[in-house]
């Protein structure tokens, strides 16, 4: 049981990561691909926060009478990564909009066909 609770977080993180990777490589729709990338990204966030968690620790805000805190460093890294992540997602979505305007489709297969017939 201890072995299970020790590693459960990491297994779910790996599962989410693989779901994201699968979405990116197996789906042809570009919006779906962006969502897959986002799931992959969130799984990395969980990996960092899981590593930073200390059993019985408190949130890293200094309070009187609390001795044990969680590791603040992963929180800092992930906090900024989330905001940078949404900015880059917006960039990807902007590219999708431009692709739609030039090719009139966002399905990968149809874009390939159009490229070959040009």
């Amino acid at each position: 049981m201890d072995f299970f609770t020790d590693h459960y977080n990491y297994w779910v993180v790996i599962f989410l990561m693989m779901v994201g990777l699968y979405t990116v490589i197996s789906r042809g729709n570009l919006i779906k691909k962006v969502i897959g990338l986002n799931i992959f990204q969130v799984s990395v966030f969980f990996l960092y926060i899981s590593i930073g968690t200390v059993e019985g620790g408190a949130a890293p805000i200094i309070t009187e009478g609390v001795e044990l805190y969680s590791n603040p460093l992963p929180h800092v890294l992930i906090l900024t990564a989330i905001v940078v992540g949404v900015a880059t997602t917006a960039l990807a979505l902007a590219l999708v909009v431009r692709i739609k305007e030039s090719y009139d489709t966002i399905e990968e297969d149809e874009i390939h066909e159009l490229d070959h017939t040009l």
Binding site: I61, L79, V83, A90, V97
Partner: protein, 139 residues
Amino acid sequence: MKPNLILHVVSKFLIPLIILFALYVQFHGDFGPGGGFQAGVIFSAALILYALVFGLDAAEKIIPSHLLRILASLGLLIYAGVGVVALLLGANYLDYTVLGSNQIAGQHLGILLVELGVGITVAAVMLIIYFAFAGRGRE
């Protein structure tokens, strides 16, 4: 879009509260959870809600897009400027200790200014991105 009475009344009630909360998160970030990144995103969420309910034109009257471009650069400039000021006062880049009379005061002022810069840039960039997407669909 047809005007919806419930949406209008509820959002008019909620938007000031969301903005107030964003300011609280911004300036109370030293003591509780919060800071520039969160406050910027919450602030922009309030204005995006306004744009969704009342239309993009009404939202652009509140914050015109050229002002947003200035604000986005201004936030980054404040951040980098704090570093340059520290440099001119004889310390390392982004070492806030020299900004105040003692170490604690200097660090406090530096963190406050830097978080303000972060908040302004994040809020402005999120609004720029939303306005770009929403404006693209306008004929």
